[in-house]
């Protein structure tokens, strides 16, 4: 069957009433939690990971994708009105968006953000549907050596992309790798690092790691800060509906933002950070006329909201390409979704497309539907979401903690899980306080065991010869990309410094 027939089947699966309901629940929850200040899509998926176990594989995947997209839409609202971006994907939106809100044009900023998210998300989902089958063709030729190389690429680039310094990123990665070691060794059945504790003999559930590091760590961190919890949200002023003139101004930023997002999303550079930055700086550079004036005077230009919002939703779709076809998460949220797949014993990768074609295509189909739902929820009903910003902080954070523990206790059925949760929360707190990124830890905990399995399987097939790792052209290419991706930025800054020194 060709791609379009598969996509059509997928849309039919997604349009089944129950799946529509899951998508609706996902986008509503995603937007709601995404709106909450300080909470991005990664934390949103983490919170709902254990709860979703009662929905079945297809249902919860559809819901997760809805949460991912919804979190991106919702994040824009708190960035624009509160100037507190939920995560790196919305930082660029907050720059011009909050200025527009202060200037009395908050409504327009919200409208431009929602339509940009729709445009970027829909175009990039279409790209996802076209590119994924091609990637699967390539990935089918992958053996242990190639997979091991890919995982190494993910480790290096995720550590380099998050958290400012490579040492910090690698520290976080090794924390994750150590967590991943706990439990029964898959090849020999021996238990490792479980210290005789029965609950730790099976490996630690990734949901506990994710919720502990992200949700508990974040709330503990917030509690440890001397914060004024009384900041006021800007009221929404002006219509959220864009005039034809506004749409004309937004159209090019939408196109460019989508391009950046879709190009960078699949690369293991940490999701939406780079494309939104590139999109913002491009819009700022090319702005002319009234836009130029608005950028320079600090009143806030609509282009600066439109571009990054299209870019972060497009990158969300782009991120799904390596996740679905290779099982490789390139952002924190994608790592959470991978954890979601693993809850059902599903391993994303080329085989997923052949063994569970209806799930994959149903998921892709539901992404289109989720985008339509989201633009409807976010343009006319934006006022409802804005009210969520009025929830007092103590209630909000206490509520998040209650919800997080509910999910963990409900899924694990034991209070021991909460002790682990508290432990990971404390690790998360220390890491947040000392500027260590959390995403590499999660990626390490998820991909570490896979890397080990591939390496040991490869060694067995090749009778203990380690050189098998370097004998395939594909894996050598992947290592080369990894070196360029890590060393490239250093070389680039060094070259720029020399050039500016010589001028």
């Amino acid at each position: 069957m060709d791609t379009f027939a598969l996509l059509f089947d997928g849309l039919a699966t997604a349009a089944q009433p129950m799946n529509l309901l899951y998508a609706l629940v996902g986008v509503v929850l995603g937007t709601a939690v995404g709106v909450m200040p300080g909470i991005g899509p990664a934390l949103t998926v983490a919170l709902l990971l254990p709860v979703s176990l009662s929905f079945g594989a297809t249902g919860s995947m559809i819901m997760f994708a809805g949460i991912y997209y919804g979190g991106m839409y919702g994040g824009a609202i708190s960035s624009i009105l509160l100037n507190t971006p939920g995560e790196t994907a919305s930082i660029m939106t907050a720059l011009e968006g909050n200025r527009m809100a202060k200037d009395g044009r908050g409504g327009k900023a919200l409208g431009a953000a929602a339509i940009g998210s729709f445009f970027g998300g829909t175009c990039a989902t279409f790209g996802l549907a076209v590119v994924s089958p091609l990637m699967v063709q390539v990935a089918l030729a992958f053996g242990p050596a190639e997979y091991f190389a890919l995982i190494m690429l993910a480790f290096l680039t995720v550590s380099a992309a998050f958290g400012g310094s490579m040492v910090r990123g690698l520290t976080a990665l090794f924390v994750g790798l150590a967590i991943g070691l706990v439990g029964v060794d898959t090849l020999t059945g021996q238990s490792r690092l479980s210290f005789g504790i029965a609950e730790m003999r099976d490996s630690i559930d990734i949901a506990i790691v994710a919720v502990g590091l992200f949700a508990m760590g974040e709330t503990l961190f917030l509690a440890s800060q001397h914060l004024d919890h009384s900041e006021k949200a800007e009221p929404v002023r002006g219509s959220v509906w864009l005039s034809l003139e506004d749409l004309k101004r937004c159209f090019r930023p939408y196109l460019r933002g989508t391009g950046y997002g879709f190009a960078f999303g699949p690369l293991p550079t940490g999701g939406a950070e780079i494309p939104t930055f590139l999109s913002y700086s491009t819009e700022r550079r090319v702005a002319k006329g009234i836009a130029r004036e608005e950028f320079d005077s600090g009143r806030g230009a609509i282009e600066g909201v439109a571009g990054p919002e299209a870019a972060n939703n497009a990158s969300a779709a782009g991120t799904l390409i390596p996740l679905l076809t290779l099982g490789l998460p390139t952002s924190a949220t994608a790592a959470m979704m991978l954890a979601g797949f693993q809850q059902y014993g599903l391993q994303p990768g080329p085989l997923l497309f052949t063994n569970s074609a209806d799930l994959v295509w149903g998921l892709i189909g539901s992404l289109f539907i989720a985008n339509i739902m989201l633009v409807v929820l976010n343009v006319p009903f934006v006022g409802v979401w804005v009210r969520l910003l009025a929830i007092p902080r103590p209630w909000l954070y206490a509520g998040i903690m209650t919800f997080a523990t509910l999910g963990i206790v409900g899924a694990q059925g034991s209070a021991f899980a909460l002790i682990l949760l508290l432990g990971f929360g404390l690790i998360g707190l220390v890491m947040r306080r000392f500027d260590y990124p959390l995403a590499p830890a999660l990626v390490g905990a998820i991909l570490g065991p896979l890397a080990e399995e591939q390496l040991r399987r490869g060694l067995m097939i090749n009778r203990g010869d380690w050189l098998f790792l370097l004998e395939s052209g594909i894996s050598l290419t992947i290592y080369a990309i990894a070196i360029i991706a890590v060393a490239g930025p250093y070389v680039w800054t060094a070259m720029r410094r020399r050039r500016s020194a010589s001028v």
């Binding site: 490792r192 903690m401 509910l406």
Partner: protein, 124 residues
């Protein structure tokens, strides 16, 4: 069987961690750590106590609603909500609603205590 046993990977991770630790020391000696804001110990202590209280109450068999009410109340107090009994009361309502929603709505198995058993007999 040729290949490596289950003990090799932990050694690799340990070696890597040791290297990172050495690099962190180098960073510290070079003054790579910026000055940080003072820790708000009181807030942190309340929230930590909140989680601890929930764990203890669950182990003691008080059930999800009471344990989570303690978690919610103490945590809200940690974020500046006063008075404590008010926060605990709101926590009881919130966790009761969550319990009913997830236990009877989604069929999630949550630890039951006296309150949950009373609710169950009320519903049945």
């Amino acid at each position: 069987v040729q290949g490596i046993g289950p003990q090799v990977f932990p050694y690799i991770v340990a070696a890597g961690t040791a290297v990172i630790a050495a690099l962190t020391v180098v960073m510290a000696l070079r003054g790579g750590f910026p000055e940080r804001e003072r820790v708000h110990w009181a807030g942190l202590a309340w929230v930590f106590a909140a989680i601890l209280a929930q764990i203890v109450l669950l182990y003691a068999g008080f059930g999800f609603i009471l344990a989570s009410a303690a978690l919610f109340g103490l945590a809200a107090r940690g974020f500046g909500q006063r008075p404590l009994w008010g926060a605990l009361a709101v926590g009881a309502v919130v966790s009761a609603v969550l319990y009913l929603l997830f236990r009877y709505g989604l069929g999630l198995a949550l630890p039951a205590g006296p309150v949950e058993r009373a609710l169950a007999s009320l519903i049945a």
